[in-house]
């Protein structure tokens, strides 16, 4: 599985690299630099992918693939923030590729609700929240997670999802309305202003 991430032909890797700025590779990354980068980003990236895919082991795979691609591309990133955006962009592309490849987004969504990982280890609250969240489409989940949990700006969200920055406002608005509707449906009234 990991071999796929590294052995992608150039034409398959090029679009995502081009979309992330198409910067020329810089000096080779060493292990110490990678370790710092991994420790800074891996946990939040995993949470994002976990919520997006609804499966902990898929999130594990995709996190590793994300870093494999990062090491291979070795992009010239100007700052930690830019590196983070690059990683989220790659992770989002990989997650959507995963959905396309498996063509079983609905099953994944259903599995997320009913599988042991959420039922066995989590509280009822977590289980309910998971069920509510998985009723949204993957892109809506990604939008809401990036905006609310990661605190990403509209530009960062646009870069991560490969959409125009101006579209994010509308997409985010719709995703929020959808979530509010789902919350109402489950008797979890969206917060009203105090």
């Amino acid at each position: 599985m990991y071999a796929d991430a590294m052995a992608l032909p150039a034409f398959a890797a090029a679009p995502s690299e081009a979309r992330t700025g198409g910067r020329a590779p810089q000096t080779p990354m060493n292990e110490a630099k990678f370790e710092a980068l991994y420790r800074r980003n891996a946990a939040s990236l995993w949470s994002y992918l976990h919520r997006l895919t609804g499966n902990a082991s898929v999130a594990d795979d995709l996190v590793q693939k994300t870093f494999f691609r990062f090491i291979r591309a070795n992009p010239e990133t100007e700052s930690d923030d830019h590196t983070r955006r690059y990683l989220y962009r790659t992770a989002t592309n990989l997650a959507f590729d995963h959905f396309r490849e498996t063509k079983r987004e609905r099953e994944v969504t259903a599995a997320m609700v009913s599988n042991g990982e959420t039922r066995g280890t989590g509280s009822d609250l977590r289980h309910d929240m998971t069920r509510v969240f998985t009723e949204l489409k993957p892109r809506e989940r990604a939008l809401l997670w990036l905006a609310h949990v990661e605190g990403s700006s509209h530009e960062e969200i646009a870069e991560a999802l490969g959409v125009k920055s101006k579209s994010v406002k509308v997409l985010l608005f719709r995703a929020r309305r959808r979530l509010a509707d789902v919350l109402r449906k489950h008797g979890l009234a969206p917060q009203e202003l105090a």
Partner: protein
């Protein structure tokens, strides 16, 4: 330039903390975007905090090592690609060569196959007017190429 409402981050912060100022409350009442934001911000904050941030991820040194191994595999595949292409071309060339040869000299080959004994072949080969030096050379060349391609395939796989 961001298209987001300039109060969006304030709205998220207020919805999380429950501390609303009058100005912000008035703004949210009149802004559809911020109203939608306010309606889900607290819930999103909760789901973000209940997520399994403590999930055990592989050690970075393991991920680094895997990436180096995979990089080596990918490089080896890149290097061996021309050889693989040449091998496939050789298979096609050999197959086409034999097909062409049999089509060209099918009658003589058929006659050989009827009297298939060493003595018969030697006598026939000497006496048959259809057998030319060119044909024998072609046969020898095709047989040699076939053996070389077969040996290369076997050795490469080993």
């Amino acid at each position: 330039m961001s298209d987001a409402c300039r109060f969006e981050s304030d709205t998220i912060a207020a919805a999380k903390s429950g501390q609303w100022t009058d100005t912000l409350r008035a703004h949210v009442a009149s802004c559809a975007d911020c109203s939608a934001t306010a309606s889900v911000a607290a819930w999103m904050d909760r789901i973000g905090r209940t997520d399994e941030r403590t999930h055990k991820l592989p050690d970075p040194s393991v991920v680094w090592l895997k990436s180096q191994l995979l990089r080596g595999t990918a490089a080896a595949e890149r290097v061996s690609r021309p050889v693989t292409i040449a091998q496939v071309l050789a298979y096609f060339t050999v197959a086409a060569g034999w097909a062409g040869f049999l089509n060209w000299k099918w009658e003589i080959v058929q006659r050989w196959m009827v009297g298939v004994s060493a003595q018969h072949i030697a006598v026939n080969a000497a006496s048959t007017s259809g057998v030319s030096l060119g044909m024998l050379a072609t046969l020898f060349l095709l047989a040699t190429i076939t053996v070389v391609v077969a040996l290369h395939t076997i050795l490469a796989e080993e």
